[in-house]
């Protein structure tokens, strides 16, 4: 009986660990956080809209959950309907700073009406 209980206990622990792992907040696939930001940045929402003239507009809201200001870069990849990147000035690296325990917003506008999707990279940069 004790042997069965011991085996069941381990099964329960593994099942609980798997369940908790599945609940961990992962950024959506369109947003790629540098591993150095894991545990410090949480992506809360992504809003996509298309302007009347057909340009995709994106607004990503995140939170710096650490007790230190975060100095970051972000960069958009603008993708057409075939998934190919559309090169543009609007895909350049841009600085963004998030104060400790504060929300921050990243806004982007697609360079051309041919853009239908995006990828966003967020990376840490050296403090000034």
């Amino acid at each position: 009986m004790a042997k069965v209980f011991r085996r069941t206990r381990w099964l329960l622990i593994i099942a609980a660990a798997l369940t908790l792992g599945a609940c961990a907040t992962l950024p959506p696939p369109s947003i790629q956080l540098d591993p150095s930001l894991n545990g410090y940045v949480t992506i809360k929402s992504i809003h996509k809209s298309v302007s009347p003239s057909g340009l995709l507009q994106v607004e990503v809201t995140g939170k710096n959950t650490s007790d230190q200001p975060l100095y970051m870069y972000y960069q958009f990849d603008w993708l057409d309907k075939n998934g190919q990147a559309v090169p543009s000035l609007l895909a350049a690296k841009t600085r963004v700073t998030a104060d400790r325990n504060r929300w921050f917003t990243i806004r982007g506008v697609a360079p051309s009406p041919a853009v239908t999707d995006f990828r966003l990279y967020l990376d840490e940069r050296d403090k000034p």
């Binding site: 302007s51 009347p52 003239s53 340009l55 000035l89 506008v109 009406p113």
Partner: protein, 201 residues
């Protein structure tokens, strides 16, 4: 004598090893130090901010569709540096053309950056050397709807004996030429701080 030659050869090798190598900068991953003067990253940032603001403001959405025709007005370099303002304006022109909302005219501008061939080809209307059916008739040029003007300002200040601050302001205005109203305005400040030994001109 032989020993002298060996020592000289080794010395030359060491000197060659110390020489700074020239490299091509990969702009996507450039981690180079920021100078106090303006560099390519500042122009890219200012142009990107302006284009993003223009496109997301909706002022370039022409009622009924189509594209606006934009002319380049005067863009003043009011810094202590020798700058070709086309470093900024060309990036904006390219991005706006790509957006499909604006096309820039090369026929008229306030800073003289027109295409000389526009007038040159018209002078040849009477020339018998050109095939008549290929000649450009009168009244083909398009009057611009919008004008882009601006100024780049620099301000230097000393914080203390060892630190100075250099402030740059990229100011741009988009004017509706039909009524003279400024339909979009943008300012991108770039503030740099560094040693007083650094030169910002």
């Amino acid at each position: 004598m032989k020993r002298f030659a060996v020592v000289t050869f080794l010395g030359l090798l060491m000197l060659a090893g110390c020489a700074q190598r020239n490299v091509i900068v990969d702009q996507a991953t450039d981690q180079g130090e920021t100078p106090l003067a303006l560099d390519y990253r500042d122009f890219e940032h200012a142009a990107m901010s302006a284009v993003q603001s223009m496109l997301s403001s909706g002022t370039l959405d022409k009622p009924g569709g189509g594209r606006y025709v934009m002319a380049i007005s005067r863009v003043t370099n009011d810094t202590m540096q020798r700058i070709d303002t086309d470093q900024l304006i060309k990036k904006i022109r390219i991005a706006l053309l790509q957006s499909g909302k604006v096309v820039t005219t090369s026929a008229i501008s306030a800073n003289g950056s027109t295409d000389a061939m526009i007038n040159q080809v018209r002078k040849e209307r009477v020339s018998p050397e050109f095939k008549s059916s290929t000649k450009i008739g009168e009244g083909q040029l398009i009057t611009p709807d919008l004008s882009l003007s601006g100024k780049i300002i620099q301000r230097n200040m000393r914080e203390n004996s060892s630190t100075q601050q250099v402030e740059y302001y990229f100011q741009l205005t988009l004017t509706n030429l039909r009524n003279g109203l400024a339909i979009w305005e943008g300012e991108t400040p770039i503030i740099k701080r560094g040693s007083t030994d650094s030169v910002a001109w």
